[in-house]
């Protein structure tokens, strides 16, 4: 059956007008290179923009960072009053008070601090947790880096696959249908697509496992050596979390999987066919 499939494929390829085939292969090769470049640029963008967003004060307009009340230290709550510097956007600490949250609440009532849009008493638990995730701390930078790198791995694999597709199409354009190089490139393309589809849903899971493990370790660390440093709030765009990039959950992702599987089968048939062709050449 495989021999027939190989012969049929070869006949089909021979039937296609050479000039049309060459043209199509060259165009597809170009498209693949462009697609690979775009995908690679996306990965590079993610690799650079996300960590930068965590360390760059981009939007002070929602008064985040105005007041911070540390939790976990009942007698030593730090209260910070800060405001953005209009020149460079960096936060400036105006005042540091050693008081607990009740005292802060009283002070806020006594004084008209309208510039402070929120206090720890007005925030829900979820809001506090959400804002704490954006603290400029080494832990958060680590988390951002882990998420970014894990998201980038499948994307870079896809970019490599597209480059392989380009090389394969170049081989076809040159008339090297069953040569080992062409088939290898096609197989690499298919494998990359399959790896992309398989790895994409696994990476968030892996990321969660790593981050939870890191969080547990940091929790143990904090319990043993309670931190006494002051945390500054550095806001980042709310919708910039890597969690928003859910992969392999849509129909298009299913189609990509189907495409990769089909290509894998074709590549396998072509590989077998090229072996048969080589064997056939040794029969006198």
């Amino acid at each position: 059956m495989i021999r027939n499939a190989g012969a049929m494929m070869r006949r089909t390829l021979q039937d296609v007008p050479q000039s049309g085939l060459l043209k199509a292969a060259r165009v597809m090769s170009l498209v693949s290179v462009v697609a690979a470049a775009i995908v690679a640029l996306c990965a590079v963008n993610v690799l650079t923009v996300w960590p930068v967003a965590y360390i760059t004060p981009v939007n002070w307009s929602f008064d985040l960072g105005c007041v911070s009340c540390r939790k976990g230290l009942p007698n030593k709550n730090f209260v910070l009053f800060g405001k953005p510097d209009p020149n460079d956007g960096a936060g400036q600490v105006e005042q540091r008070l050693d008081m607990n949250c009740s005292e802060l609440k009283k002070k806020l009532i006594d004084q008209d601090l309208s510039k402070c849009a929120w206090t720890p008493h007005t925030l829900s638990k979820d809001e506090v947790a959400a804002r704490n995730r954006r603290l400029l701390t080494p832990e958060n930078l680590f988390k951002a880096s882990i998420r970014t790198v894990l998201w980038s791995i499948p994307v870079l694999i896809l970019a490599r696959g597209l480059l392989e597709a380009s090389r394969c199409l170049n081989g076809l354009a040159a008339g090297r249908y069953f040569e080992v190089d062409t088939v290898t490139h096609l197989r690499n393309f298919a494998t990359s697509g399959l790896l992309y589809v398989l790895l994409s849903p696994c990476m968030p899971i892996l990321g969660n496992v790593i981050l939870h493990a890191e969080e547990a370790i940091m929790q143990l660390y904090r319990e043993r050596w309670p931190p006494d440093e002051i945390h500054y709030f550095w806001p980042v765009p709310l919708d910039f979390s890597p969690d928003n990039f859910g992969i392999a959950k849509t129909f298009s992702e299913f189609l990509v999987g189907l495409y990769a599987l089909t290509l894998t089968i074709i590549a396998t048939v072509m590989a077998r066919a090229s072996t048969i062709v080589e064997d056939h050449a040794e029969i006198i």
């Binding site: 064997d279 040794e282 029969i283 006198i284």
Partner: protein, 71 residues
């Protein structure tokens, strides 16, 4: 592989030149040389028929099964 090609012997016995046999079979001398050395993966019935016809022999005279060495 235990199949041995005895084409060399048959050609020598009949004093047939490689060039003439290759031309009769429609294959190159290089391929005939590979066939004589047994360095091919198979022989077409068509080729075998041509060889037998040219050398006036049977397929069994050209192809022999080597016996297994004991021990």
């Amino acid at each position: 592989m235990r199949i041995r090609v005895a084409l060399n012997v048959m050609m020598a016995e009949r004093n047939v030149k490689s060039k003439d046999l290759a031309a009769f079979l429609g294959i190159t001398e290089a391929n005939l040389s590979l066939l004589k050395q047994g360095k091919v993966k198979g022989v077409r019935f068509e080729t075998l028929e041509g060889i037998c016809e040219y050398l006036n022999c049977e397929p069994g005279d050209i192809l022999r099964l080597e016996k297994r060495s004991e021990g």
